[in-house]
Amino acid sequence: MRMLSRFLPGLLCLCLLFGLPQAVQAQDDPGQPLLEALDTSSYADKAEAIEVIIESGDERSRRWLEALLNGKLQRHKDNQRFVIVLENRGRHWPVADALSFEEAGEMSRRELDRIGINNALRGTLQNALSLLDLYVDDADQRRDAARDLLGNVDASMVEPLKAVIENEENAEVRRLLSQALAIYRLDQGDVEAIADLEGSLNQQVRSVLNSAARSDDPVLADAASAALAGIEQKLKLNQGLETLYFGLSLGSVLVLAAIGLAITFGVMGVINMAHGELIMLGAYTTWGMQQLLPGQPGLALVLSIPAGFLVAALAGIAIERGVIQFLKGRPLETLLATFGVSLILQQLVRTVISPQNRTVVSPEWLSGSVMINEGLSLTLNRLYVLGFALLVFAGLMLVMRKTRLGLEVRAVTQNRAMARSMGIRATRVDIMTFALGSGVAGLAGVALSQLTNVGPNLGQNYIIDSFMVVVFGGVGNLWGTLVAGLSLGVINQVLEPWVGAVLAKIIVLVFIILFIQKRPKGLFPQKGRAAEG
């Protein structure tokens, strides 16, 4: 004791030297009074203090309350500093400052005072912790917390939860919270709770309704079954919507792949079997761009859009000048020659780059999904590709309808000789049209790189489908291509759950083969003299 009394002034001095500045700093922190309030001997006051902490919305609350629950929130006897014990074994415990969470060395267990709790407080704390996230400012976080509560509500949480629901501004969060509460109430046999659960697609809700439907109480069982039927209905609708979405997504890919072909085949009458390889070039451009700009997949992807267009368009011009111009008016020979080109391009990629697939990274803003409701979420990349396809389509439509080039292309298509005699340079129009169609194939490749593997066979997988889309829609008709592509995509997806992917594809092919017999000019045949050519 004497030793201690001799050292005491020194210790005090130390506290004045080191403790005071910290204390001053701590005074400014809004957390300090919150913790101070905990340090009372009355458990009733402690309970109140805990409530204050929860309602403060302070982001450190979780850690404080967890520490308090585990008996690790302690106060230094001398400098009154709040610390969180990191490891309470041995004599000297490593601690962290309770306000900054910075490590504060070791303290002897004798220097520390534990802020004690009793069993009642323990229960309060446990509930408080599960409700804690409901007080944060970020609505998304609150929503997630509310979703976690579904099926996890117990008796002690009912009252605080009711209070939270009162004060919640966000309708979505409020709905989820009432559902969480309703699940509990239903478990207790409250029929009225079912009203709150109607239309929810949550798994927990369905399982609790299912068990309620089997209960002995006929009123409860009937009400639950009715609610379940409604939910089933909604689920079916959601499934339908999902199929539609996947179908449209597949369709948009088909449209993208085929729309360039619709230009070269439909407008120019040139069968370009190398079209698939132009798509492949676009995809490889994306890959190459990402190699050039490592770590910036988003920027690379955006830049690949013009780059992919250019690369494919240049390749297209080379094909047109090198091969197709010599085969004017001989479509079957063009088909064979461009098939040769496609073989060469494929092998070129295999030899120069690699026969293996290359991975193209998706930027962050393309990955993930949009959640429409609990039963339906749309993957972002497919959504973007769908939008991109529509954009490309609109762009092409504008070019063909509103620009000089489009006018000239249509003129040359309808009557080449007449167009030439009106001063249109038909050869130049040929080149431009082919470049346009090929460039669009390149764009398709950029988009496809986000959905499938980029490999030498990428184009081959799409060429037959693309031709099918163009023929189905009616050659020379861009709208036809759009409608045909989207509807084929949807048909394929609708069939898939019944018969499997391969058979669905076969059925679609056979359907088109039969359809062509019925309407040889496709869905939207060209009218007028040009059609007879």
Partner: protein
């Protein structure tokens, strides 16, 4: 015009009077004989000895040549560019393969007396109905012709009736073979899925792995090629053939002249499909396997290339083209496998751009040139007189 007076005689024997046919048949039989003699009479190790492997290879080429002839019949004389003839070839091959599978009997890995190995593997307990009868050789051989013929009949009937021609027909024939490829890849189809049909033992009691059987198959393929060639020649020199050519050149005009164009198209298309099936049936025992890759659209386009290289609408050109391309393929894939697709691709471009009439066209061109030179040599004398 000289064929007009010969049209009085029996149509099937008419080709024998043509010099080109005589020449073709002469060369073909001389080659068959030569290979046989070099294989049997020349001792092994002698530089001129033709090994059994080579005989087998030639047999494969000859079945390809028959396939090319069948494509030339529809493309050259009917103007239909079929990108799906591989399908008929493969179906003929599968019909033969099914017979050969049944011939294995209980010698398969699982030793089931009736079910082929892959069906045992899939836990099937009985043969699907369409496998019935394939244990009988005559039935299988009839199906070799009937199955592809039937497909061609249905497909052609629908297509020609609604006047689907030109590029559209090419594209949907391609879709047809693509769809069939996907279908045959499925195990549930009952044709061995991915692996197809293989591990054959014997054909009509002859062990497929002996050299003698190989030589026999080679000779049989040669004879089939000759017969197919004569049949095609007979068809194209007949009145029906001339209507076909008229259809090729001006379909609408032929129709206006009162011909039911679609019937002629259908007949020629079905005959061609049957020939392709026959080629497939001869091909399968020689290579010992048939799998869905024969349905791949690329193979079908390759056949068209053979015809284009050899020369369209000559029939013998198709044979030359098939032999040339496949020989080149064997050589290339042996020496530098990577370069083959480059070469094949370049060949497609080169032939269509620079050799629209193919090798046969070159030959004809040279012949015409010598003729002209003779004429010119005569002309100055006439002019001076």
């Amino acid at each position: 015009m000289q064929s007009v007076d010969s049209s009085q005689r029996f149509w099937l024997t008419r080709p024998f009077r043509e010099r080109a046919t005589q020449l073709f048949l002469g060369v073909l039989f001389a080659a068959l004989l030569l290979v046989t003699v070099l294989h049997l009479a020349v001792p092994q190790g002698h530089p001129l000895h033709v090994t059994a492997y080579t005989v087998n290879l030639f047999g494969k080429y000859l079945s390809y040549a028959l396939l090319a002839v069948s494509v030339d019949l529809v493309w050259g004389y009917l103007g239909i560019l079929s990108l799906g003839h591989g399908a008929f070839f493969a179906i003929g091959g599968y019909a033969m393969g099914m017979y050969l599978m049944r011939q294995i009997g209980d010698r398969g890995t699982y030793g089931d007396p009736v079910l082929p190995d892959f069906m045992v593997f899939l836990n099937w307990d009985s043969l699907p109905w369409y496998w019935l009868g394939f244990d009988m050789a005559w039935f299988a051989f009839v199906m070799v012709l009937v199955a592809p013929g039937l497909l061609a009949l249905v497909f052609g009937f629908l297509a020609f009736r609604s006047r689907v021609t030109g590029v559209y027909l090419s594209i949907i024939t391609q879709a047809l073979t693509f769809a069939l490829m996907l279908a045959f890849f499925r195990n549930e189809m009952g044709f061995g899925g991915n692996n197809g049909l293989t591990d054959f033992r014997e054909l009509l009691g002859f062990d497929l792995r002996t050299d003698a059987t190989r030589l026999g198959l080679f000779l049989a393929t040669g004879v089939a090629l000759a017969l197919g060639y004569i049949l095609c020649r007979a068809i194209v020199t007949s009145k029906l053939g001339r209507v076909s050519v008229a259809t090729r050149d001006a379909e609408a005009r032929t129709r206006f002249l009162g011909y039911r164009v679609e019937r002629f198209q259908l007949f020629v298309f079905v005959v061609s499909a049957m020939l392709a099936g026959l080629a497939g049936a001869l091909y399968v025992p020689q290579v010992g396997i048939i799998n869905p890759s024969e349905f791949s659209p690329i193979f079908s386009i390759e056949i068209v290339l053979w015809v284009a290289l050899g020369g369209r609408a000559t029939l013998y050109g198709a044979v030359i083209g098939a032999l040339l391309v496949n020989y080149a393929k064997t050589v290339f894939t042996g020496i530098m496998p990577d370069a083959w697709l480059f070469a094949l691709g370049a060949l497609f471009v080169f032939v269509t751009v620079f050799l629209p009439k193919g090798v046969a066209g070159l030959l004809a061109h040279r012949k015409r040139k010598t003729q002209e030179q003779k004429n010119q040599a005569r002309k100055p004398q006439e002019a001076t007189t």
